[in-house]
């Protein structure tokens, strides 16, 4: 259901450096266990990847009816998050460009815990024409 407080994403109006959502949440044991089970890695230390900090920051500000496909991700790890600690996330649009006439944005989120420990910096290269990838994957004869 559409959230009326969200802005409709308009690629032409998006600006490099534009702030996305900032938010906080508490990492629970359940979140950690669900993440580890989903990737079949009992020692996976960054359940924050499953939270998708950058995409969440985007979705807190924008409704994007066209949708998006991730062309790539870049992540820097600094410290594994600790269960029970509050995680503070700040997001922004880090870049915007056309490649082969296709529109991309780069969204970025930085996560710091309540003790000031830097946890993770996650960036996603989003193609804002998801149908283009669909054509590539399923070319019509």
């Amino acid at each position: 259901m559409a959230n009326s407080k969200l802005k409709i994403f308009d690629y032409d109006k998006a600006e490099i450096g534009e702030a996305l959502g900032s938010y906080e949440y508490i990492l629970t044991q359940e979140m950690l266990e669900a993440f580890r089970a989903s990737v079949d890695d009992p020692e996976a230390p960054f359940p924050t990847l499953g939270v998708k900090h950058d995409a969440t920051a985007f979705a807190m500000v924008y409704d994007d009816p066209i949708g998006t496909v991730n062309a790539g991700n870049q992540v820097e790890f600094f410290n594994p998050p600790i269960v029970g600690k509050k995680i503070n996330v700040t997001g922004r649009i880090a870049d915007k460009y056309l490649r082969r006439d296709k529109p991309y944005i780069v969204i970025e989120a930085i996560a710091i815990d309540e003790d000031g420990r830097m946890l993770e910096k996650l960036s996603t290269y989003q193609l804002k024409r998801p149908d283009e990838l669909g054509k590539k994957w399923h070319p019509k004869p």
């Binding site: 989903s38 890695d41 020692e43 960054f46 870049q74 992540v75 054509k135 994957w137």
Partner: protein
């Protein structure tokens, strides 16, 4: 760390993961916003991508690659200095088996240690490359 000496072209431990609808949905359930997307809603994926299936989040492949890197460098190194950068080439979906491989492609002396770069590859059960990229970590 797991590997005491690092040499050019040294292989990192490979990781193989079975991807299922259950694992895709469980990964999506980790989010704090309960939104429908191309990963948890096949109809939405069909509308936006023209696929007949929901696709796995690319962040699952990031996590698989990070596991390979962590096993090579050790958690004390990788969890505090590591990076993973992947470009996604093909969709990953229910029933796929993804294998991550990689090899050292270079080292660089930096302040506080040596940054080791690793070429990373994700391939599916058909031998098709689903992602390619680079990982790094800093060793003392």
């Amino acid at each position: 760390m797991a590997s005491k000496t690092i040499v050019q072209d040294q292989k990192i431990p490979s990781v193989t993961k079975k991807v299922t609808t259950e694992s895709i949905l469980q990964f999506e359930s980790c989010g704090i916003l309960k939104k429908e997307n191309i990963h948890n809603n096949p109809e939405l994926a069909a509308k936006r991508l023209g696929t007949t299936y929901a696709i796995a989040s690319g962040r699952m492949s990031i996590t698989f690659a990070a596991e390979s890197m962590r096993k090579f460098f050790g958690p004390d190194v990788f969890n505090h200095t590591g990076t993973v950068n992947l470009k996604f080439l093909r969709p990953v979906k229910d029933g796929d088996t993804i294998t991550v491989t990689g090899a050292v492609n270079g080292t660089e002396d930096i302040e506080g240690g040596t940054r080791v770069s690793v070429d990373l590859f994700c391939d599916n059960q058909d031998g098709d490359r689903t992602a390619v990229g680079l990982g790094t970590a800093v060793i003392k």
